[in-house]
Subunit: 198 residues, 2 copies
Amino acid sequence: MEQLEPITRMVNELSHLPGIGRKTAQRLAYHIAGMELEDVRNMATAIWQGRKAIRYCKVCGNFSVDEVCQVCADEKRHNGQICVVRDPKDVIAMERMHDYQGLYHVLQGTLSPMDGIGPSQIRIAELLERLQQGGVSEVILATSPDIEGEATASYLAKVIKPMGVQVTRIAHGLPVGLDLEYADEVTLSKAMAGRREM
Amino acid sequence: MEQLEPITRMVNELSHLPGIGRKTAQRLAYHIAGMELEDVRNMATAIWQGRKAIRYCKVCGNFSVDEVCQVCADEKRHNGQICVVRDPKDVIAMERMHDYQGLYHVLQGTLSPMDGIGPSQIRIAELLERLQQGGVSEVILATSPDIEGEATASYLAKVIKPMGVQVTRIAHGLPVGLDLEYADEVTLSKAMAGRREM
């Protein structure tokens, strides 16, 4: 017996999702095939209507339901600080700490010469435009501490500093709760380099 | 910033899937929110149309596109053998070995008194009906070697044997390629009990 065509189509689509291989997609497709019609309709609708309801904030590039996102529209946020991140989900991570009161700028990618992604492929021009409008005193670079994230941070520091805006980089070091002996060498060397007087 | 409502709805729906917790659902929802509209439409359509296209074979209970599934409709299959499995995906697993030429019966569950699932909640009556029509010489019980699977197999053996039909159980033992030292005790004891003369 061949795999049924509707199931194959589900498997093909589901395996486009990150972290979902063919085997997992197959497990999910068989599960969906056995679900109540009503529940599957709700799921498919949530996916399609959800995606349709989402656009990018025209100011910062974050996910938004309206033209301008919740953060940019919030007058209580300090508009003198802009925290630069790669993805909308990084904004959620930052917001989870309930500590940062400034604005964001979502690059929607990082520089990666290997993949042919240069400064014009990500939202750097939009960031520079925001800075040119004035009023921003600090740009916090919060891209990940990997090769692309570091390259992006270096590039941004180089182009932003001449504009007279303070540029900072989030600290890299030992994550809280990690035992020293389990830290990798790169993290440890960053932690040493970033040491502060007590 | 709160999580956007359309994303929350996606997370809620996706986390109903097996093996997808809230964290994974969130990762998937953020990925979907950033996908091309067209790709999301294809995925949602494949899920919904796929589910709608699938029903249960009226003979064996397997997934099917038509009233009778491919296996039951195939005249080259031996209709004197019925292999009893729990789920439609078990049929796919059996078919993958390209070795078995008989028919199937999908129980759509296993007996589980703890969860209140008795003989009338799974497709046992339908199996007995097929046997009463005659022509079946062997029923192969291929439920999993866990508590529910064994209980279901024992129950079926008890009700089918008096009908004069041979009842067999698939062998349990060491999986091919598994080193003896890594086998768990239960598997090893089943392998010993099922030993055969060489």
